[in-house]
Symmetry: C2
């Protein structure tokens, strides 16, 4: 849990007592590689903070093609936020790519924590604001960058993901075909391993 | 200002005294059609709440092509949030499409208000969370929908914008060419008027 405290304190300091209280809202869960954290049609009960492992969140279109919304490594928050906040069925899948451990925060717990501790409301606002600006940047990239520019930007922003995640998933994230990515960056390319 | 109170109270009730206090943080500004609220290179000083008018936020790529990030009508918040929160130079333009009036909230004012009134911190968190889920939906649409599906979804989600905004801008928002949109929806189409 020390990592979580550090993570919170990147935004706001918390006292020992406050952090002890925060911990009472969270439950720990182990997730195995290939296991789903959320599946299409699930009522999404939790927001998840990843202490270990890698996940990918993806949407499957009517033709069965996967489109990746997010890769999440440790120290990241992850959920289907539309379904979580509205308590509706998920339209996406979130699957574990490497044995993982997460902390689960139910909607009721999250809102109670935010309501009782102003600094946690502030923390959650700052986290979602950061997520918003990252998504906005991605929309600009999807609208204006060609496949090569998208990949090069991704590589420079997320070197850890490029190292850990198979290229076919990065292609699905960038909205380009695997063939295009392989043509641009053949296997011999130093970052194209896995 | 009554509209602003109603807007806040869609999320959290505020007392007369609290609302009077909120108002002290805001300054009113009139903006004429074609005038820029934010230009590339500006240090972004404010978050804006639109009381009247229409704006579009757009990014210009290296070839000079425009890509629209957002249309904003009355009762919407609008800024370059990356530049606003980091107090860096804007990478986008925000231009007025119809004579408008906005309320301006500086970063210092926004953070002071959020810090002093917990319910305003909650309000801002809920607003940015909503923005996050809308953007996530848009990313799914950009990755998985063809031009026709993108336009039809846009038309069903934002009928007011389709009525008020020229089609060429909607094409720029959807990441499709104006020719494609005109081919799919000729001028005679009932929703294709400006």
């Amino acid at each position: 849990m020390d990592k979580l405290r550090k993570h919170i304190e990147e935004i706001t300091p918390v006292s020992d007592e406050e952090f002890e209280y925060v911990k009472t809202f969270l439950t720990r869960k182990r997730v195995r590689k290939h296991q789903y954290l959320i599946q299409v049609g699930d009522i999404v009960t939790c927001d998840y903070w990843i202490t270990r492992g890698i996940f990918r969140a993806f949407y499957v279109d009517k033709t069965g093609k996967e489109h990746i919304l997010q890769f999440a490594l440790e120290n990241s928050w992850l959920s289907d936020y539309n379904a979580f906040f509205n308590q509706t069925e998920s339209k996406m899948n979130i699957v574990c790519m490497e044995d993982a451990e997460v902390l689960c925060l139910t909607l009721l717990a999250k809102e109670k924590l935010a309501s009782e501790l102003h600094k946690m409301e502030h923390f959650f606002r700052m986290k979602v604001t950061r997520g918003y600006t990252v998504q906005q940047h991605r929309i600009i990239s999807l609208l204006s960058n060609n496949p090569r520019q998208r990949y090069e930007e991704f590589e420079s922003l997320y070197p850890n993901i490029v190292k850990k995640v198979p290229k076919k998933y990065i292609a699905e994230y960038l909205g380009i075909s695997r063939e295009t990515l392989s043509r641009l960056y053949p296997v011999s390319h130093r970052h194209a391993s896995i």
